[in-house]
Symmetry: C2
Subunit: 577 residues, 2 copies
C-alpha cells in the first residue's frame, strides 16, 4: 500500500474525509464479536475504513439488509465444473462468494506447471478472487502416468510466486504416514516457504493421523464421521466441511460443530458442477444447511468467512473490519442466504443473481488437449483371467468411494471376460494418454448398470487418462477412438454410433463454453446415459466414472498400470484369492 | 527442519520407533477441541509427535496430572521487572510460562538498537523462549528526548531480522489516528514485512478506533471496560487482558469474554515486578483469576496458549498436537494451576518451582548507564508562576493514569512554588539525561503524600530521563546528583543524606542481580518511602512515579520538555486557565 492510500484510509475511518463508497443502513455481521450491529460501512480504495456513521462520495442504501463478509470456499477444484476460471467466477460471485481457494491439480496433472500458469492468468480476468494452492501430488501416486510431474524442487521454486497461497492437498497420505522420501521433501519445501499445507486423509485416524499431521498438514476435507472430525481437530487440523456435487459430508459433520471447536471448521465444495451451482448455489447452500441443522447463523458465517481467512493466512479479508478488503455480501435474511448484492474490493460485482462485469476469456489455445496414445485397439481390452472368481470395483452410489467386491464371472476359452446380461458387471479400462506408454489397464466394474454401448471420458482423476466402460470391447474401442479424434471430453456411443459428445478442449478436461451450455450438454448426456445406455439412476454416469481411476480414495481403483487396492496401497490381480 | 528430523518425527508419530521422550499417563488439555483427553505425549527432537499410546527412550510419568501447552505471555516489558532476560527466564518458567512476547522499548529508548541487540543476545542464555517485538515509538512521542530514535527506515531494516516477531505497541495512537507521516511510514514498514503490529490505545473508541485499527494494528492491552473491549474486538483486534504489577484489568474484562469472542482474548502482564512474580506467580495467577471468575478452564488455557500463538503467527507452538514444539506444563489441577513440571522444546526446565538449568549472564558491561546531564543544579528547579491557580498532576492510585486537577498554591515573591505542609502537593521534575540538552522540566504533583526528603529515579517511562519528586529543591537536587553519581537506579534521600539506593547498572533501568535481591531492595525502598518519607500507602512509591513522564497515558504527564496534556496531545502551562 502507498502512504497516500493509507492516509486516505485512516482519514476516511476517522471521518475527516468522505468515503469513496458508503453502504448505509446495513445489519453488519461482526464475525469477531459474533454479533450483528447496525451501521454504515465506509470503503476507501477497496478497503473497509470502518463501521459506524459515515458519509461517502457514493452511497448505496442496504435497506436494512444483512452485510456479511464475502464467502470464501476453502477448497475447490475449478476443473471439476468443466469451466474456466473466468466462467466459474461469473457463476459463483452472484452466490455471495468473493474468494475461492482453488487447487488446479487436474489441469496440472494433464499439462504440468503450464496449466498452473494458465489458471493464474485466467484468474486475472474474473472479479472473483481465486487463490491457488500448488498441487502437491502430481502424479497423485507413483502407480499411474500423468501429463505432469512436480517434485520437491519444482514445488520450492513455484512457492516463491507470491500469487500461490500454499501447497495443495497432500493426497498421497500413505507417502506421508510412511515418511517416504518424496513426501518429506515436498513437505519441507512448503514448510521452508512458510505456507499452509492442505490435507486429504480419508479415514485416517490414530497414530497414522498423528504421523500425517506431524508433517504440518493443517486441513482435511475428507471427514466422513463426527468422530473422525473431532480426532482431526484435536490433531490441530482445520476441518473443511464439504458439500460438493459428488460428496455430501456437511450435513453429517454439522452434528460435530460445537462452540469450542467451530473456529476450526470451514466450508468447502471440493467439486461443484454447473448444474449444482445453477440450481442450488454455492456457499449460500452450505449456509442454509448449517442453519437448518441448528447452527447459529453468525457461527455459520464465521465458518464461511473468517475461519477460512485465518486458516489460510489471508488476514486481508474475511471480516467487515477496518483495513480488511471490502468483500461484502448483502443478504435479505440469515435463513435463505440469498445474495442480493456482492462487492469485491469495494466494487459491486453481482446483483440479484447477475454477474455485472463483462466476461473476457483468456486465450486458451495453448491448452488444447493432446492425446499421446500409442497403438490403441480393441485387442488391448482383452483379458486373460486364470480364475472365474474376480475382484470387482463396486460402485458406492452417492460418493467417490468404491467397494472391493468379489464376483463369479464367465470366461471364454482364452480366459477373457464374458458379459452376463443378468449380472451388472462390465469391463472398465484406463487408456494412458500423456506419455505414449501404450498402457491400457482393464478391470471389472460392478453396479454401473450400463446395458448398451459405452462411455469414454478424458476426465479421470487425477491423471486424466482416458477412462471408459461399456458392454463390449468393440463399443469401448469405438468410444475411445471417437474421444481421441475430438480432442477429449465426453463420448457416449451405442451400436457403434456416436450418441452424444461434449468436447472439452482445454486439456481434455475443461470447456471453453458457458456454465449454462455445459449444464445443458451434461443434462443431455445424463439422460441418454440413463435412458438409452441403461446406466443405473443411482449412479451419476460421468462424475462417478471419472473417480474410478483415483488411487487415493478407498477401496479399489484402476490406473493405467492396473487394479489398485487403496488400503494396501498396491496393485492386486484381477483374480480374487 | 532436516529431512532426517522430519522422518524421525513421523516415524515416532506412527509408532514405528520409540519416542525420545514420552510423558505417560497425562490428562492432555486439547486446546483445539476444547476438551481434556487421557494419553501419552510422544516427543521427537523437541517436537510433539502425537498424543496416544507411545513408548519412549525416556519416560516420565505424569501421574494423571494435567498437561497443558506452555503458557504464553502475549505482552510484557522485561525491563519493568528491573531484571535481565536471563533472570526473568529463571523466575517465569517455574510458573508454567514457556514463551513471552516482549517489547524491549525501555532499553531501546535508553540505548537505541544497541539495546535490542543486547536483549536478543541475552535471551539466548535462557530456556524461556523470548520473542521480541521491535519498539515502534522511540521516542514515545516527539514531545520528549530519549536515548534512542528509531524511524521507519530503521524499522524496515530491523524487521528483516527473523528473530524479531513484529512491530511493538504503537503508543503514539494520536499519530496513527491523525495519519501523521511518521506513523504511516512505520506502519507500512511493518505491513510490508508482513508482521503483526501491537497496539496501545487506551480509551480509544468510535471513529478514532476505526482509524487506529485501519493501520492493521491487531492487538490492544489497554482496555479498561468491557464495552471498550467489545468495540475493539469488533474492529478486529485481539484483546490482551492485563494483570500486571501496576495495571489490573483482567478481572474486570473477564465479564466480557463469551464463547463467541474468547478466541480473540489473550492474557498478558505488561509489567511484572519480582515481588509479584515471587508472591503470585505469572500467568498461573491469571488463570486462577479466570477460573474464579467463572471462565471454563479450557477456555482460560486457550487464552494463555493457542490464542496467543495464533495472534502472533507462532504456528509452531500453543497446543499439544503433532508437529508443535513440546512446550508443556504439568499441573495438579485446573484450579490453582500450580506448575509441577515445565518442558520447553521437550526439555524439562523447571520442577516444583525450581528452574533447573544453570543461569549464565550475558556480559552487559557495554550497557552500563551513561548520564549526559548538562549543567544541572537546584536553580533549575525554580518556578516562575504567574498565577496561584495551577494545573497539577494528580495521582490515581492503583494505575498509571493521572487526573488533571487544578489547585490553589502559595508562591514566593519570585513566583516560585512554596510547599504547604497541609496540602499534598510537591514539585516533580524531569531531568533530561541522554542528549545533554540541559532540559529540566518542573511541575506540581498532587497526592504522592511525601512529607520529607526526595525520591529520584532513572526509570521514567518511556524515555527514562531522571524523574524526581521531593519536599524541597535542595532535597531534590541532592537526590538527582546522588543518582547520577551511582550511574542510575533508585535513590531515596532525607535531610540531605542518602537513605537507600538501588543501582540499576544496565542502562540505568535494569539490575544485574537476582530477582530475590531486587525484591528485597525494593521492599526496603518501599518501607522507607512510606514510613520515613511519608509517601501515601495508597501509592506505589517507585512504579507510580516512573509512569508520570509517559505522555501517552491520560490525563496529564511531565516530560523533559514540559507539562503535557495527553488528551489535547500538547503541552500546557502550569498556570490553570
Amino acid at each position: 500500500m502507498t502512504k497516500e492510500a493509507l492516509k486516505k484510509l485512516i482519514d476516511t475511518a476517522a471521518g475527516r474525509i468522505p468515503a469513496d463508497l458508503v453502504i448505509k443502513n446495513a445489519r453488519v455481521v461482526d464475525v469477531f464479536g459474533g454479533a450483528v450491529t447496525q451501521g454504515d460501512i465506509a470503503v476507501s480504495n477497496g478497503l473497509i475504513a470502518g463501521v459506524g456513521q459515515y458519509e461517502g462520495m457514493e452511497v448505496i442504501d442496504a435497506q436494512g439488509r444483512y452485510a456479511t463478509p464475502g464467502f470464501i470456499d476453502s477448497h475447490i477444484h475449478i476443473e471439476s465444473s468443466y469451466l474456466t476460471p473466468e466462467e466459474i467466477g461469473r457463476l459463483l460471485v452472484p452466490c455471495g462468494t468473493t474468494t475461492i481457494v482453488a487447487d488446479p491439480h487436474e489441469i496440472v496433472n494433464v499439462t504440468g506447471l503450464r496449466g498452473m500458469e494458465y489458471m493464474l492468468d485466467a484468474a486475472e480476468e474474473t472479479a472473483l478472487d481465486i487463490k491457488y494452492m500448488l498441487p502437491s501430488c502430481v502424479p497423485a501416486t507413483s502407480f499411474e502416468h500423468a501429463g505432469g510431474a512436480i517434485g520437491a524442487k519444482e514445488i520450492a521454486q513455484a512457492l516463491r510466486d507470491k500469487r500461490i497461497l500454499g501447497l495443495g492437498e497432500f493426497m498421497d497420505y500413505p507417502g506421508v504416514i510412511n515418511a517416504a522420501d518424496f513426501a518429506l521433501e515436498r513437505l519441507l519445501a512448503a514448510q521452508e516457504a512458510g505456507v499452509p499445507i492442505d490435507g486429504h486423509a480419508p479415514l485416517v485416524t490414530g497414530k497414522s493421523l498423528n504421523a500425517y499431521a506431524a508433517g504440518k498438514i493443517i486441513t482435511d476435507h475428507e471427514c466422513t464421521t463426527v468422530e473422525e472430525m473431532h480426532e482431526k481437530i484435536s490433531a490441530g487440523m482445520y476441518i473443511l466441511m464439504r458439500h460438493g456435487s459428488a460428496c455430501h459430508d456437511l450435513e453429517r459433520l454439522l452434528a460435530g460443530v460445537t462452540a469450542r471447536n467451530s473456529a476450526r471448521c470451514l466450508l468447502c465444495s471440493d467439486d461443484r458442477q454447473p448444474k449444482t451451482i445453477l440450481e442450488h448455489g454455492h456457499l449460500d447452500y452450505h449456509l442454509r444447511i448449517c442453519v437448518q441443522k441448528g447452527i447459529d447463523p453468525v457461527t455459520a458465517i464465521q465458518m464461511a468467512t473468517l475461519n477460512a481467512a485465518t486458516c489460510y493466512g489471508m488476514s486481508d479479508r474475511g471480516a467487515i473490519a477496518p483495513g480488511r478488503r471490502a468483500d461484502i455480501t448483502l443478504l435479505d435474511d440469515l435463513v435463505a442466504f440469498k445474495a442480493r448484492q456482492v462487492f469485491i474490493a469495494g466494487r459491486l460485482i453481482a446483483e440479484d443473481g447477475i454477474y455485472l462485469p463483462q466476461v473476457r476469456q483468456r486465450d486458451c489455445a495453448a491448452m488444447r488437449g493432446r492425446f499421446y496414445v500409442k497403438g490403441f485397439s480393441a485387442d488391448k481390452l482383452k483379458l486373460n483371467l486364470h480364475s472365474d472368481k474376480v475382484n470387482t470395483i463396486e460402485f458406492m452410489p452417492g460418493g467417490v468411494m468404491t467397494k472391493k467386491s468379489v464376483a463369479a464371472i464367465k470366461r471364454d476359452t482364452q480366459g477373457d471376460f464374458v458379459r452376463d446380461e443378468g449380472a451388472d458387471i462390465v469391463k472398465v479400462a484406463v487408456v494412458e494418454r500423456h506419455q505414449n506408454t501404450g498402457n491400457v489397464a482393464v478391470a471389472l466394474l460392478q453396479g454401473y448398470g450400463i446395458r448398451a454401448g459405452a462411455v469414454a471420458l478424458s476426465i479421470a482423476h487425477d491423471s486424466h487418462n482416458i477412462i471408459t466402460a461399456g458392454v463390449s470391447d468393440a463399443e469401448i474401442a469405438f468410444a475411445v477412438e471417437t474421444l481421441i479424434a475430438q480432442g477429449g471430453g465426453i463420448v457416449l456411443v451405442k451400436d457403434l454410433e456416436v450418441l452424444e459428445t461434449m468436447p472439452l478442449p482445454i486439456g481434455g478436461i475443461m470447456s471453453d463454453q458457458t456454465g449454462e451450455w455445459v449444464d445443458e450438454k451434461l443434462a443431455s448426456i445424463h439422460e441418454l446415459a440413463h435412458d438409452t445406455l441403461g446406466i443405473s439412476k443411482a449412479v451419476e454416469p460421468v462424475m462417478s466414472l471419472c473417480f474410478m481411476a483415483l488411487p487415493v480414495i478407498p477401496d479399489i481403483k484402476l490406473t493405467d498400470m492396473g487394479l489398485f487396492d487403496v488400503r494396501k496401497f498396491d496393485f492386486i490381480p484381477l483374480e480374487a484369492e
